[in-house]
Symmetry: C2
Subunit: 535 residues, 2 copies
């Protein structure tokens, strides 16, 4: 190709007024021309002096561009001989390796564009002046590429809410009440010490002083049985469960989940190839039926202190039966103890783990609801014989860090701030819970039952069996109130209950009434005025 035509082509496209530096524009234009074979392999580029003069730019600029093109393999230069376009066209035989019995095509004619769909010929480009920006405006396939089957399922069944705040989002603490100044002060103190060991990867298990502090706290608060070494610091319940799944289960293994259960658990388990067996719950908690018991699972996930989302407590009899069953049939139990600090009117109950004498129970918890969700610090208590395995697994799979943050948290706990904050929040959330319960009673009497209200950051407002709780939630969302429909927590087809989770913890006292009024109107319009037969 002619040097003059190239210069004309470039001059037509360089825009000195553009924010993009001339260097970059020139680089990009030459790259495109080479990629689209407008400058075919073997073409000799103009000397830097010539091109600089033709374009009216500094020779150094052209030299830099040529250097970069060389470094990236677009061109190669021989001293004294010039700069030539390299042959970097895709190897057709490799690309088409899969096609059966196609005649062997030698490398395409140098004059043809690599891919006729992508750019017009050079001749066309020159005569029809508008620049062809190939790399900048790629022609994208309009059809989205296929997700995998497990990807489609994950998205289809995703339970996460688009909005994460405000009446009546469940499971969210009131972060505006978090003692930010105290946290910041402790944080600044630790950063001042600038200990480089806190800036690098965490050893498997996490910051040892934090494990000690948590071990002490959990032994007293939750009656767990553990030493600091059994504590593994994670980023929260999702990661804790994921780690256990990867180490203790294989694809196709069966996992018992409560029906209903937290959607996040379902997603993590299914995404890892486990088969879920939803087990019904009654007022004593997990209640497996004969067929369930006859096929022992590899894993059972339970929320014995406060069933999520319905709120019942697993009775002592059921706990003992479950533990004995697990021991006999070698089932791993994951005890998800997600919000047991917030029990109103009675002491927190002892963990299932503390009752276990066979090393069947892996206890998991998180500090997010006690402090702030963005913190992403949780913990697992691993049975003693699994500690090394879990430490290796977590370092191998996730490369843990955040030691500085763990150190701040340790100080926060040791100085008593965790306990005092939790106590204060328990009182505040207790108030808000009462305001909401009173509003419900005033409006609906006992028409609509309230379930699981003795603990946690939410309770469930039951709806009649003919109600479509997803539709109610959608209508409420339109009206500006977030409620999570119970249907979203069921793994099976036919939820045995209808209702909505109402989170009150993150709602300022004075906003609870008005938000509830809005919700009540929605319920009245969508559910209570509709007869069971019409639904």
């Amino acid at each position: 190709m002619d040097t003059v035509i190239l210069s004309d082509w470039l001059v037509a496209r360089l825009d000195r007024g553009d924010a993009e530096p001339v260097y970059r524009q020139l680089l990009r234009l030459l790259q495109q021309a080479i990629l689209t074979s407008q400058l075919p392999p073997g073409t000799k580029l103009p000397s830097s002096r010539t091109l600089a003069t033709d374009l009216g730019i500094a020779r150094n600029t052209v030299l830099h561009v040529y250097d970069q093109l060389t470094a990236e393999g677009y061109v190669h230069s021989t001293t004294g001989s010039g700069t030539y376009v390299a042959d970097t066209r895709p190897d057709r035989r490799a690309v088409n390796a899969r096609k059966p019995a196609a005649p062997d095509h030698p490398r395409e004619d140098a004059a043809l564009p690599v891919d006729a769909r992508v750019a017009p010929t050079f001749a066309e480009a020159v005569t029809h002046a508008p620049p062809v920006m190939v790399a900048a405006h790629p022609l994208r396939h309009t059809e989205a590429r296929d997700l995998s089957a497990r990807g489609r399922r994950l998205i289809r069944e995703a339970g996460v809410s688009a909005k994460q705040w405000g009446a009546f989002m469940p499971g969210v603490p009131d972060v505006s009440e978090f003692p930010a100044r105290t946290w910041s002060r402790l944080q600044a103190k630790l950063w001042k010490q600038a200990n480089p060991e806190l800036l690098t990867y965490a050893p498997g298990g996490g910051y040892r002083p934090l494990r000690r502090a948590l071990s002490d706290y959990l032994r007293v608060a939750r009656s767990v049985n553990c030493t600091p070494d059994q504590i593994i610091i994670t980023t929260g319940i999702h990661q804790s469960i994921d780690l256990a799944v990867r180490l203790l289960t294989d694809v196709g293994d069966r996992a018992w989940v409560e029906e209903p259960c937290y959607w996040g658990v379902r997603s993590v388990l299914q995404s890892s190839g486990l088969t879920l067996a939803p087990i019904p719950v009654d007022d004593e908690g997990l209640n497996p039926r004969e067929p369930d018991l006859r096929t022992p699972p590899r894993l059972a996930l339970v929320t014995p202190s406060h069933q999520y989302p319905l709120g019942m407590v697993m009775s002592l009899a059921r706990r003992r039966t479950l533990l004995e069953y697990a021991r006999q049939h070698r089932v791993w139990i994951i005890e998800d103890d997600y919000d047991s600090e917030f029990r109103y009117g009675s002491r927190p109950l002892a963990s299932l783990q503390g009752l276990d004498d066979a090393g069947s129970v892996i206890y998991v918890g998180s500090l997010g609801k006690m402090l702030f969700p963005g913190l992403r610090i949780g913990y697992m208590i691993a049975p003693e014989d699994l500690v090394d395995t879990f430490r290796t697994g977590i370092a191998e799979l996730y490369r843990e860090g955040q030691l500085m943050q763990q150190a701040v948290l340790t100080e926060f706990i040791m100085d008593g701030y965790l306990t005092s904050h939790v106590r204060r929040m328990r009182a505040l959330y207790g108030e808000r819970r009462q305001i909401l319960i009173d509003a419900i009673t005033a409006r609906f009497g006992d028409t609509l039952p309230v379930m699981g209200d003795e603990a946690g950051l939410h309770f469930v407002l039951g709806l009649p069996l003919h109600a479509n709780d997803r539709a109610v939630a959608a209508a409420a969302y339109d009206a500006g109130v977030i409620v999570r429909p119970l249907a979203g927590y069921y793994s099976g087809e036919m939820p045995s209950r209808r209702g909505m989770l109402l989170g009150y913890a993150c709602v300022p006292n004075e906003k609870i009434g008005p938000a509830f009024d809005t919700l009540a109107r929605v319920i009245e319009n969508t559910v209570l005025r509709v007869s069971p037969h019409a639904a």
Copy 2:
């Protein structure tokens, strides 16, 4: 059972001098007695007044204990009638549900212990005075319970190093050089503003201003093609890959990995059920053979800017072929661009993603090596049609947070500290690299080749083919020097190269020489004095 015998039994076991409060001791002892059926179901407990008098403790203490036992279901009380031990024995029919054709046993005789192996009979306990602490010292099964097959594989093939710092750990930046004071100042400023939105869950994708700052930075530094919306903030490369795997692949799908490659990638992929196809690399990078090309994978993981661990750059021709192959056979490419900022002596090269016009490439990177590994902030650039999917996926699977930290990072970038820190580190690491190279040349001439030294935080010191690089690494570790053997990075059985990764970034200048002397002695003793035939 007799009230007097119970009181005697308790008195023998309560230790007022113990650190553990009497309340807790009494609670624990009664729980144990009930669990082991030493206090069988139906037993009437002494009145609180009587027990308090017998034990010489406050009546209130006994009342509290009885309250807790009631709350937890160990006992039930009828007003005026007394407190009775509840029947919470495991349901034998449930526990044994799986056993075929066993005669139906009615609930066991109340006088027998639930499990004779766990505790002696009450009579024995009384006559042989020493306390039987059941729950506190559980009898654990001495055999570790089985990990799953994928769990065993993960642990067996774990590549993570026990020690994460010091000569010559690869991939670790010098965190003592991190501008901690600046970071702390920005952090304190943001915490002072105490914006509660920064303390809660991150919306899918992460903090928008950070996505904007990264998008600008990456477009310039790495020639990627993206808008801020295409950026997904993750906790690093492990999570980015995990997310892509869960959304785009199914169990059993094939994944191309470079041979050798980063062990973390291998672990994440295998743990998620993918079949790895290790593809050899030559001096132009990934070099698939005919059989590889005939079975297109679902996913291909590549490190085109700086092959990890060997360091070659993927040539432009190979890049174009790979992209064309991916487009034609609908292969997802994950471009892992892990340390491209640290290129010595030439500009960073353009990304593969910037060349892609078919939306095949998912670009992933991390800020850990630029700033500090404990930070755990990374990013993915998702093809446009996958953005929503990835955002939903990350929120569903991991519940992202750390918005405050993302906000600090944004300020750090916008104020120019990222760029200046990287520039400073590039110069420092360049010095260290040179010191180590000079030491190698002085000691070994060109007997042992150095590979991949033009970029990164490490290079590879090649060893003769007869060398056992794992053994060399072990001997070096014993001598106090960490090197990672190349063998650990190969997925297949027969590594085609021998050598060791030497990381120099985290080693103070003055320590490089001495550490290398130690290593050189180890090499001389274990490799160079041994003839190829003797090995």
